[in-house]
C-alpha cells in the first residue's frame, strides 16, 4: 500500500533522510519508531506530498507522490505532529469544516468515527483550543478520518500524552485496523513498537532495522539479564565496570545487563556480592525493543 524506495532528503548540510526504503502492506498497522531528529516528520511530509524528496521514489496505493499528488491528497488522512485544527472553531465546526473541504458530510462517514467521537460528544460546542490534550488528539484523529481515507498517516500522535490516554489511543488504532484501514504511525515511545504488525526502527535519517516486533526482539544478539537490588543506581555503576558486560542500562527500578553468551548467573552474582551489593535478584530475560534499539545505536 505504501512503498518507500531510496528516499534522500537534505536541508542544506543536514542529511535528514539517507536512502530510506520500506514497504507497508494493505491493512497493516506499521510503526516508524525512533527519537526526535530521526527524520520521521520529513518522511511524513514527503508521503503527504507537502515536500519533495531530493531523490528516490514513494507511492501510496500505486500513486506516485510527485506525479499524482492531487489524487494522494484526497485518499490520505494525515495527523501532523503539531495540533493543526482551528483553535477558535468548536469541535463540531472543525469536523464539519474538514468534511466539507473533502466534499463529504459528517453524516455520510459518521460510522467511521462513531467510537471516537462519542467521547467528544459532550464537548461538541467547546472550542478546540479549550480541549485537554487527550481530547484534542481524539478530535484530530476524527478530522483525519472523516473523508474516509484509504491510508492513515499519523506523525507522533502520542508525544506528550499520558500513559492511559496512550493506551486508549492505540486501542482506537487497532479498531480502525479491523475495519481494513492501512496506518503508518510514528512514535518516539519504543514500547509502542510492540503494538504494531511491523516496524522500521529509525535514527538520524537511517533505518536501523525493519521486521515484526517479535522478530526484532528475538534477534537480540547477546544474553540479557534483569538485575534487581537494594540500590539500583549504585548497582548500575558497578555493573558498568563488569568485565564481561556488553552494556548495562537502567530500566526503571532494575538494570538490564547484556553479556556474552557464556556468562552465567553465578558469575554475575559473585561479582556483585564482592562489590558489596545487597538484596540481589538475577533473572535471564527476553530482550524488548528498547534493548535492541540501544544495542543498534552503539
Amino acid at each position: 500500500m505504501i512503498t518507500v524506495q531510496n528516499i534522500n532528503k537534505s536541508y542544506g548540510q543536514v542529511q535528514a533522510l539517507k536512502s530510506l526504503s520500506f514497504n507497508v502492506e494493505e491493512g497493516q498497522l506499521y510503526g516508524l519508531i525512533g527519537p526526535d531528529g530521526a527524520g520521521k516528520t520529513t518522511l511524513f511530509r514527503i508521503l503527504t506530498t507537502l515536500l519533495l524528496a531530493d531523490s528516490g521514489e514513494a507511492t501510496l496505493d500505486g500513486l506516485d507522490v510527485k506525479k499524482d499528488y492531487k489524487k494522494i491528497r484526497k485518499m490520505v488522512g494525515y495527523m501532523p505532529e503539531r495540533f493543526s485544527l482551528y483553535m477558535d472553531l468548536t469541535v463540531e465546526e472543525n469536523l464539519n469544516f474538514f468534511a466539507t473541504v473533502f466534499q463529504t458530510t459528517v453524516e455520510e462517514n459518521y460510522h467511521l468515527i462513531h467510537d471516537i467521537y462519542q467521547m467528544l460528544e459532550p464537548f461538541k460546542k467547546r472550542k478546540a483550543g479549550d480541549l485537554s490534550g487527550g481530547m484534542k488528539q481524539k478530535l484530530a484523529l476524527s478530522c483525519a478520518l472523516i473523508h474516509k481515507p484509504r491510508v492513515l498517516l499519523l506523525d507522533e500522535p502520542t508525544t506528550g500524552v499520558d500513559p492511559v490516554s496512550r493506551k486508549e489511543f492505540w486501542e482506537m488504532l487497532k479498531k480502525l485496523q479491523q475495519g481494513g484501514l492501512t496506518t503508518l504511525v510514528s512514535t518516539p515511545f519504543l514500547d509502542e513498537a510492540e503494538l504494531c504488525d511491523e516496524v522500521a526502527l529509525v535514527q538520524n535519517g537511517q533505518i536501523l532495522k525493519v521486521d515484526t516486533p517479535q522478530n526484532i526482539a528475538l534477534a537480540f544478539p547477546h544474553k540479557l539479564w534483569q538485575i534487581k537490588s537494594k540500590s539500583n543506581y549504585k548497582t548500575l555503576k558497578i555493573l558498568k565496570e563488569f568485565n564481561q558486560k556488553i552494556s548495562a542500562f537502567a530500566f526503571g527500578n532494575v538494570v538490564h545487563l547484556a553479556t556474552d553468551l557464556e556468562v552465567n548467573e553465578m558469575m554475575i552474582e559473585s561479582y556483585l556480592k564482592n562489590k558489596g551489593v545487597e538484596q540481589i535478584q538475577i533473572q535471564a530475560i527476553q530482550a524488548g525493543i528498547e534493548d535492541v534499539f540501544m544495542d543498534l545505536m552503539q
Partner: protein, 241 residues
Amino acid sequence: MNGEKVIEVKNLSKHFGQFKAVDDISFDVKKGEVFGFLGANGAGKTTAIKMLTGIWSSSSGQATVAGFDINRNRNKLKENIGYMSQKFSLYEDLTFKENVRFYGGIYGLSNKEISQKTDEMIAHLELDNIKNTLISEIPLGWKQKIAFSVAVIHRPKIVFLDEPTSGVDPITRRQFWDLIYETAESGITVFVTTHYMDEAEYCDRISMMVQGRIEALGSLDELLEKHDARNMDEVFVKLAR
C-alpha cells in the same frame, strides 16, 4: 527557613470559576530529593507547577518553595529556583556559549563565574565541538542536557523539570538521568514530570495527581505494595483510568 524541606505545600488550591484545577493538595519535598510529579493530561500538574514557580497565585492554601512564600515573595522565589521544559529551554538562535552568558547574566553571576561555568560545562558534557554552534543546530538530546545544566547554573535550591526527556532517544534519556542524580547528590532538589513510567521509577518519591488532587504519594516500593502492582505503569493505569 526550614533547612530540610525545600517545598512545603498546605491545602493549596487553584480555581478557575467552578473548575478546581488544583484541589486542596498538601505535600513536602526534601533537600536533595528527586521528586516525581505524575498525572494524566489535564490532571492539574501544569497549574500546580505554575503556582510553585511563582507565576500564578493560589486561590487558597499556602506553599513555600526554597523558603519563600509563593504568593508574597515571588521575585525572591524565582531567583532561587531553576526551570526547564521541553517547550522552553534555550534560545535557539544563540550559541551554547551565548546562552550560558545570557542566563548567567540574568541570574547575577559575575563574568568570571560565567566563564568558569562555561568551561566546566564544556568539559563535563563534552561540548568542545559544538560550543560555538547555534542551539537550533544541535540534536535534541544534547540540547536538553545543556538546558538542564543551564537551569542550575546559579546553584538554585530546587530545579523544576517539565517533561525534560520527551522525544529524546533511549541512551541520551538515560544520560540525562545520570545528570539528575549528580545534581541531586550535590544538594539541589529535583522536581520532575514525565510520561515515561520507567523514569518515574528512578525518583526517590513519586506523587500522582488525578483530577486536581494528589491520589498517591510515596516511594516506588510503597506505591507498588499499596496498589498491588508490578510497576509504575500499572499504578498509573489503576489510579487514572
